[in-house]
Subunit: 320 residues, 2 copies
């Protein structure tokens, strides 16, 4: 009999969330632990697997589980390791897939980075069902991407393909990025990037804005959103600027893989049309003619609170 | 018995060249016709197939042929059509693969654009043997690309993926491109782009150069190469500029598919180190750290006069 469930594990800097998921993308049982609490990887794996055993037993035991998928920052699909993740407690290369599998009756475990997990999630349960060529762009604290071509995730020769947040979009006078280079998409189009744009605009310009009531160093993308929803002109322009940079970049991405859709995922998508409209406009204005009007621009269809676990779990169906 | 040969057809605006090729990439028999002579597609196909029959018979007849591959501008792999090719005599969509197959005992025919054919050629007989992830960049009159991921050519959802010559690399004050937009890689890094750079430099700058002896409107990339080989400072700087733009663009491309190699193909590669050195430097300077030093930069290993036919022929091995 076909095994009916998979397990998804989403590892973030603060929390690790996990769940048993069925083929329709319903999370049946779930749990979480604090990632940051475990300085030693062995302690972390022990605590995690205890939690996993609990929900797997609820689901009827390991025989019901087809596979376990893990989404983690700097997760390498090829070797199942988390490699040099700056925001996790464990240094160097951590063979997490293997460590989990050993503790759970050798259930098969696959691991990839969170943006790739999101892409598989959209393909399995979300906006990309039935698509073979699409790109997921995650707009959160950073900008990540998961690229699917011919129905397969693109891992590249080393497992690290799809870092579209680090495509350089401004050659001259570009903002410094967390990666140490200048002008990366992430420095503009992440939630952090939106807040940086707000600080820049407030400093350079003199027009009134609701944002002037806030401490500039504390402004978040949420503040910009709230002001824009009150029709604040400066805040609206910040979304125009952000969306324009994204749309320009997307038109270039289309030249690479000519995807059926680009799917937006993550916190910044809550801005809805405020971000979608300028992206669409800039994409159209910058698109090579043979691609004009062909690539859909969509929002994720995974429920936000569940998205990360669903994405990771989708990898569980793909194993072998 | 496995069929020992394939046929490659390269369709250019001036000539159509074709040959019977063995598994080692040796062209055993070849021929050519003038593309431009045939205003009617039926006349063209008749003349082409007559030529093909001749070399196929020399090779022992249709039973020896595994398949026929065609490389053509605007060739769409999915439907076997040449679609709206500006430099060919036939307008609209031409179902060339089908027309050829019908005239040749229904031998299987596959068609793609010339840059994709070059990529399959490198994978089958050239610099990419054994590689599963690489990008071929063709530097000729224009800039084209063929992208291979996981051992398969990337066609995209519509068959037109891989137009990296039309990635916009200069947002501000970019040169107008043949596609009607501004700042495309092709406007800088093609043979034509090099000549344009030469004209710009000669006009803006006042320093001496061998290039000043030429009529600026007639300067070609070959002239710039010849001057650079005589150590002409301006000519050397033109290659520096061209290579820098290419290297910057390549570092961005690596963020997409993390290829094992980027392979340079076409006329401009005759410049050798003059173009390779600045590309390598700019690539290194702009590379995201996780990719540093991983992607090889190589020249094509297909003999230039044979490269186009070999590339197209390689598609013949892939059929079914």
């Amino acid at each position: 009999m076909e095994k009916p469930y998979v397990v998804g594990i989403d590892i973030g800097g603060t929390n690790t969330v996990f769940g048993v998921v069925d083929a329709r993308g319903t999370i049946l049982y779930s749990g979480s632990i604090k990632t940051g609490k475990y300085v030693e990887i062995d302690d972390y794996v022990t605590a995690l697997c205890e939690g996993l055993k609990g929900i797997i037993d609820q689901a009827g035991g390991p025989d019901k589980i087809k596979g376990i998928g893990v989404g983690a920052p700097n997760g390498n699909f090829f070797n199942g390791c988390i490699e040099f993740a700056p925001n996790l407690p464990w240094k160097g290369k951590v063979p997490l897939a293997q460590l989990i599998s050993e503790k759970l009756d050798n259930l098969p475990v696959a691991l990839t980075n969170d943006a790739n997990a999101a892409a598989i999630g959209e393909m399995t349960y979300g906006a990309a069902r039935g698509m073979k060529d699409f790109i997921v762009i995650t707009l959160g604290t950073g900008v990540g991407s998961g690229i699917v071509i011919g129905g397969n995730l693109v891992y590249g020769h080393d497992g690290f393909a799809g870092e579209l947040g680090h495509v350089i979009v401004r050659r001259n006078n570009g903002r410094v990025c967390g990666c140490g280079r200048y002008g990366c998409l992430e420095a503009y189009a992440s939630a952090t990037g939106v807040a940086r744009t707000a600080r820049e605009y407030l400093e350079i310009r003199k027009d009134e804005s609701l944002l002037r009531e806030l401490d500039p160093d504390e402004i978040t993308s949420k503040d910009v959103y709230d002001a824009a929803m009150k029709n604040d002109k400066l805040a609206l322009e910040i979304f125009e600027f952000t969306g324009t940079i994204l749309g320009e970049a997307f038109a270039n991405f289309v030249c690479f893989s000519s995807p059926e859709a680009i799917i937006l995922f993550g916190g910044l998508t809550k801005a809805g049309d405020l971000i979608m409209n300028p992206i669409r406009r800039a994409m159209d204005e910058n698109m090579l003619k043979i691609y004009a009007g062909k690539t859909k621009l969509l929002f994720s269809q995974l429920k936000e609170s569940d998205a990360a676990v669903l994405g990771a779990s989708a990898l569980g169906w793909e194993i072998k």
